[in-house]
């Protein structure tokens, strides 16, 4: 693949700004994705802090009941569709071609189109606050009948549908691009059992997206028709309210794994490097990735244990949900085994990985509790669930994303981030996170429903809420430290060479940042750790 083909680029595409606007380079697109997603993350994080401010004490009146529901809906929607999913696409974009020794993604222009669709979708969703009667306010799950024109008049919900369509199209095109790239563009020697585990994760991410995104696109299209054209797909006499829930969660639950698998892939890259050991059980992790992806499509109705499904379905969905826990546990054990007898190098990327393991374990176990459907009768739609999914999505995925951000920052920018600030970020975030979300388990079991804008109970109940709010403020502080670190280091961090970490995979063979064509030559790949092999060979030849 080392053939160099030059294409003539018109000069207006090389300007400092136009160069980015017209780029079809996977690395630039990747960075655009990552930066844009972080901006959306800050915006929806701000909304979360506002919600927590409102809930810090009983009977607060910081936001109104209606704005609370809008904040809630856009926070959830944006975190999922405009932050986690696209930022993972960003890392995938940046890293997959480099990791498999390719020059770019299979369809560079489609790739650019994916990014711009995503940006457009994001702008539509955020600007819906300015629509008449405000943004959508029926939660990120948009359950019918609440989201129909009868109970959610106004254009907010329609804009939400439009935004979802745009981001879904973006993700779908991106996913197809990933699949084609991974299947066809691996450098010689890069067999399936040698591709980095992050690439395995992106493969699973992409396949899942292709399998389930059409369902949500179909669902929101039907909803749009019901709202605008007067069809009655979800009317009681026809599909009924529960049809929406099936369609939504058939997409929605795999979506959770779409969000977590690539972050797990990041862990499988980072931990071995900072433990100075190979990953323990490469095959087990690769196959458990596929196992999770498959099983995740069989569990959707565990979000529906209280809608009155027949007993045999309750049992079935409990058992399938349990079955996802097994491959997940395998991953945790494999990471622990990778740490075992290593020489752990405590830099920020490793810290965030350890944070991931600590917190995701918690989220996984509360997931088992929720899958036990009698327990879910109490915990469902309560703050217990809010705590659970923040443990997996924030404690898991977002900690993984920060690990990845610090780990690949030197590759993307050619500069090292500030370690002191990064460690500060980690501890503020770890402490703030637990303060914010641990008490929410208790709140849920004490009877606090999710999605309420106010409550009137005092005592321990109010204390837990206060602690939770203070924790969220601490997290906001942590984010500021992160932003400061990124901004400062991008401009003036110390310069680094190709491989500051002593890493294993091909992206570290390219320069930092890599040249537009990535590699002059790609070394022949004879294991899953080609860059380490190269180091070994050099050392042997040298001695």
């Amino acid at each position: 693949m080392a053939v160099r083909t030059e294409t003539a680029v018109p000069s207006w595409r090389e300007g400092r700004v136009t160069g980015w606007l017209t780029t079809v380079d996977h690395k630039r697109i990747g960075i655009l994705y990552i930066v844009t997603s972080f901006v959306f993350f800050f915006a929806s994080g701000l909304m979360a802090v506002l919600m927590r401010a409102q809930l810090s004490q009983a009977g607060n009146e910081i936001v109104t009941e209606d704005s609370y529901n809008q904040l809630l809906t856009i926070h959830g929607t944006a975190m999922i569709f405009l932050f986690v999913v696209p930022i993972l696409a960003g890392f995938g974009n940046y890293l997959v071609p480099l990791m498999i020794g390719a020059r770019d993604m299979a369809f560079p222009r489609l790739n650019a189109a994916s990014y711009w669709l995503f940006l457009l979708g994001g702008l539509v969703i955020f600007s819906s606050f300015f629509a008449d009667s405000g943004a959508a306010n029926s939660g990120w799950t948009a359950y019918t009948p609440l989201s129909t024109d009868e109970f959610s008049p106004g254009t907010g919900q329609d804009l939400w549908i439009l935004g979802l369509h745009l981001t879904s199209l973006s993700s779908l095109a991106g996913a197809i691009n990933f699949i084609v790239t991974i299947h066809n563009m691996r450098t010689p020697g890069m067999t399936w059992m040698r591709i980095p585990l992050f690439v395995w994760a992106i493969e699973a991410y992409a396949v899942l997206l292709v399998l389930v995104l059409p369902t949500i696109s179909a669902a929101v299209t039907l909803l749009l028709l019901d709202r605008q054209v007067g069809t009655e797909f979800f009317a009681v006499e026809n599909g009924g309210p529960v049809l929406w829930q099936h369609m939504f969660w058939f997409f929605g639950h795999p979506e959770v794994y779409i969000m977590v698998l690539p972050a797990m892939g990041m862990l499988s890259e980072v931990i071995p490097v900072f433990a100075r050991k190979p990953i323990f059980g490469y095959k087990a992790i690769a196959f458990s990735t596929i196992g999770i992806a498959f099983a995740s499509m069989l569990v959707w109705a565990h979000h529906m244990f209280t809608v009155g499904l027949p007993d045999y379905l309750q049992a079935w969905f409990m058992i399938t949900s349990f079955s996802v826990a097994v491959p997940t546990a395998i991953k945790i054990f494999n990471w622990l085994a990778t740490l075992w007898r290593g020489h752990l190098w405590f830099r920020a990327p490793l810290l965030f990985c350890l944070g991931f393991i600590a917190l995701f374990t918690m989220g996984g176990l509360s997931g088992i509790m929720l899958a036990t459907y009698p327990v879910d009768y109490q915990a469902h739609d309560s703050y217990y669930v809010v705590a659970h999914f923040h443990y997996v999505l924030f404690g898991g995925t977002v900690f993984g994303i920060f690990a990845g951000t610090y780990y690949w920052f030197p590759k993307m920018t050619g500069r090292m981030y500030d370690e002191r600030l990064a460690v500060t970020h980690f501890w503020l975030m770890f402490i703030g996170f637990n303060a914010a979300f641990l008490p929410q388990h208790m709140l849920g079991l004490m009877g606090m429903q999710r999605r309420i804008y106010t409550y009137d109970r005092g005592g321990l109940f109010e204390w837990y809420n206060l602690v939770s709010s203070l924790g969220s403020f601490l997290m906001a502080l942590a984010i500021l430290v992160f932003v400061w670190n990124m901004a400062k280091s991008w401009r003036s961090g110390t310069r680094v060479g190709n491989d500051p970490w002593g890493a294993d995979t091909l992206e570290w063979y390219a320069t930092s940042p890599p040249a537009p064509h990535n590699f002059d030559r790609v070394p022949y790949v004879s294991s899953s750790r080609p860059v380490r092999d190269l180091r070994q060979r050099l050392r042997e030849n040298g001695s």
């Binding site: 009941e65 209606d66 529901n69 009667s133 306010n137 939660g139 359950y143 009948p145 609440l146 008049p153 006499e237 309210p241 100075r276 050991k277 190979p278 990953i279 323990f280 059980g281 490469y282 209280t306 809608v307 009155g308 007993d311 049992a315 079955s323 494999n334 622990l336 085994a337 075992w340 290593g342 020489h343 752990l344 405590f346 600590a358 374990t361 918690m362 176990l365 509360s366 088992i368 509790m369 036990t372 009698p374 327990v375 009768y377 109490q378 915990a379 469902h380 739609d381 388990h441 709140l443 849920g444 079991l445 009877g447 429903q449 999710r450 999605r451 309420i452 804008y453 321990l460 837990y464």
Partner: protein
């Protein structure tokens, strides 16, 4: 202070912190459980849920402590020592099939055990076991934004449900508008109220008292303030309370009480107790309030004028005529609300 010392201290603090959390929680919550377990022990089915909760919680807690302890231990034990060069690699172990098999099978077996125990306890959780021949059936309707209860002989109660202690109850839960979810945590788990379907929730209240709950499924702007109370009373008192609700369909105190309850539970939440307006516009003294036809149309169809913020949900779907009449009678009797004589009203 060397890096190593820092790491040790930090890790030790983290470990202690982790260990301290459950202990502190247990200490902080002497009276009730402070949220360590669901509240529901007010009925055998709630109790069955709690037993399962503790069973699964126990297993999860052990796994949690083992994993976190291993993590902390490895972090302490395998940190890179200052004397170790950065390039030094650990042993190049790529895996171990036997270990992999073991740690695949152990969680699988644990989960099978949990599943079997849960399924075995399912009849107790659903309260389908035992003698239910004298079951009391109450219809529960979730409305935007109040609960409407209908007793077997058609008596209507709003937001407050009275149940006799010790008698099996079946709640037939449904909705006429969006999804709601009926949840009184002290009694048992929740069940969704969905239009077009009736979900049964069985329970047998086993101690007297007043238990608060609410709506657990996002149902719109006032989802947070859609509370309900279940008063569990003796069989005798239950008879009295139910008797007092009799005669709602003929003029009299009962009718006025139903009208007042309807106003308080439904209209007042948006239009204010005196109809002076809140998230809905002021409606006091409007002719519509006492015009049976107009009011019926309003409460069954809702209202959404494009130039008025918010919309009025169809709060009265499923009401029998006498409930609407009761509301009108109450409004007529309320000085703040009643329109001046001769205005509207059609009488």
């Amino acid at each position: 202070m060397g890096r190593r010392t820092v790491v040790v201290i930090v890790a030790a603090v983290a470990a202690l912190g982790l260990a301290a959390v459950p202990i502190l929680l247990a200490l902080a919550a002497p009276a009730d459980l402070g949220g360590l377990a669901p509240a529901g022990d007010g009925s055998p089915s709630g109790e069955a849920i709690n037993e399962l909760y503790w069973f699964v919680f126990g297993i999860c807690a052990v796994v949690f402590v083992l994993v976190e302890a291993t993590l902390v231990l490895f972090v302490l034990r395998f940190r890179r020592r200052p004397e170790t060069a950065a390039e030094t690699e650990g042993p190049q172990i790529h895996g171990n099939t036997r270990l992999e098999i073991i740690w695949t099978i152990i969680p699988a077996v644990i989960l099978v055990v949990i599943a079997v125990v849960v399924l075995a306890r399912s009849p107790a959780v659903e309260a389908t076991d035992g003698d239910r021949s004298n079951e009391l059936v109450v219809r529960v309707e979730g409305h935007q934004f109040y609960w409407r209860y209908v007793y077997p002989d058609g008596e209507i109660a709003l937001d407050t449900l009275v149940l006799p202690v010790g008698r099996p109850v079946r709640l037939e839960i449904t909705s006429y508008d969006v999804n709601h979810s009926w949840w009184v945590p002290d009694l048992t788990g929740k069940r969704d109220a969905i239009a077009g379907q009736v979900n049964d929730l069985r329970l047998t209240p086993r101690r007297e008292g007043s238990f608060d709950g609410g709506c657990a499924e996002l149902c719109g702007i006032l989802h947070a303030v859609m509370p309900t109370t279940v008063e569990v009373v003796s069989e005798e008192e239950f008879g009295d309370r139910l008797g007092a609700l009799g005669g709602q369909d003929e003029s009299g105190d009962s009718q006025l009480a139903l009208g007042e309850a309807t106003w308080e539970a439904s209209c007042a939440k948006c239009h204010g107790p005196e109809g002076a307006g809140d998230i809905g516009p002021p409606v006091a003294r409007l002719g519509t309030l006492v015009d049976e036809e107009a009011l019926r149309e309003l409460v069954t169809e809702g209202l959404d004028n494009p130039d008025v913020e918010g919309y009025m949900p169809p709060v009265g779907r499923g009401w029998p005529d006498f409930q609407l009449q009761a509301l009108i009678e109450y409004i007529r009797s309320n000085e703040a609300l009643a329109p001046p004589e001769g205005d509207g009203g059609g009488r």
